[in-house]
Symmetry: C2
Subunit: 273 residues, 2 copies
Amino acid sequence: MEERYAFIISDRTGITAETMGHTLLSQFPMMKFKTVPLPFIDTEEKARQTVQQINDAAEKNGRLPLVFATLVDDNIRKMISSSNGVFFDLIDQFLGPLERELGVESAHTIGRSHGVVDPAKYTSRIAAVNFSVRTDDGVNTNKYDQAAVIIVGVSRTGKTPTCLYLALHFGTYAANYPLTPEDLIAGRLPARIAKFRDKLFALTIDPSRLAKIRQERFARGRYAGLKQCQQEVLQAEAIFRQENVPYINTTAISIEEIATTIIHKARLKRDLI
Amino acid sequence: MEERYAFIISDRTGITAETMGHTLLSQFPMMKFKTVPLPFIDTEEKARQTVQQINDAAEKNGRLPLVFATLVDDNIRKMISSSNGVFFDLIDQFLGPLERELGVESAHTIGRSHGVVDPAKYTSRIAAVNFSVRTDDGVNTNKYDQAAVIIVGVSRTGKTPTCLYLALHFGTYAANYPLTPEDLIAGRLPARIAKFRDKLFALTIDPSRLAKIRQERFARGRYAGLKQCQQEVLQAEAIFRQENVPYINTTAISIEEIATTIIHKARLKRDLI
């Protein structure tokens, strides 16, 4: 199947445009898209080059490229919308109705969304990231009294990226503790985390997927064998059930999804939005 | 000034709805908003409760709440849109035109955007996160040959969160190296990073902001004094200019913005979109 061009155009980082464009395109799983992110299109000269690039793609591909744009400057937006693409204006379509409802004019200012920083929030976010890095992989358990959540699970279930996502996006103090084979054989939570039971949230995963992940990074020792993975997952889930630790299966979901689910289920405070 | 309610409603994580809602609201800096994120609204029962919550807010606040929604299920969307809020349909407004342009029906499937995982991308993302954690704060410089970018700067300029954001969102192998007072006095790049000059990207910051950040975390020693910060920043920027290391000032911009700017300016490969 031929790919369809999808340009993601923004006057700043393009984070909003990418998120929206990705969400919309994901509703067409039967189609293939060639995504071209073009951030920082903030001058008429860059806009002219972008129009040329869209028109070239249209001619080469034989079909009109899709163009998803978050552009605040009226001039630049008009230039891009005049290209030979199908223009989806992700901002302006909503700003008019919002202005009417709120009874004020919008700022029409580039880069307000991800650009402007609240120093207090910035600092608490950095502090959360530092906390998560310092308490990664079961170290510094003496800091667990400061944690908002402690993620537990066997090795390679996604604990580290989940904690860092929580810290970066929600300002959550998230520690993580890997259950070792010794912990699993003991059949209950190790003492140093048992006393923080109310803060625990567990990750589990399908054993066959776990084995694949482990095999990708390590030689094929016992650690990465399917049998070992099956046994570890079985033992870990038994502990979570017995000790009433909430857990989710991360096999088929993304880090964003794991993190947001934990925020939601553990009713954690969200600092950043 | 009275706050206006802004409900962010999604049938899944709400990441897209939050990003879009935040971008739109940030164009009205003169207004105050009370943002209420309601993710995982995926049943009619939850939709009914949500409608009630919106109507209660409308009555209590005296003004219609804004409602930003990414809802794929037609039934749930209709229910929410019938509430006493001003409904901004972030998905459906674009899906119809997209379906017509592409000549196919959309999947109308909940949670496709952040939920479905490509195992290969997942693994490379995790590997990038692990790399960034292992090479944080100047450790394991022997792994720098694997890095796509090495972030340098004096202490507390935002290197760690920037690296982790790059790893999580773009799958970038990002290491970071703090310039010590000894490095600064020497007046040139330390040997162990000088040989990776093409991979270096530097962060700098206004000295007064740097002093504030340092004072928030440490007692008021010399390290956090304005004079020390001024000197370090001056010395560091002199090195960056002299050794042709590109750098950006992080004083007033967010981690997202820093990371996306580095991806763009250093022309790094983006693995994830």
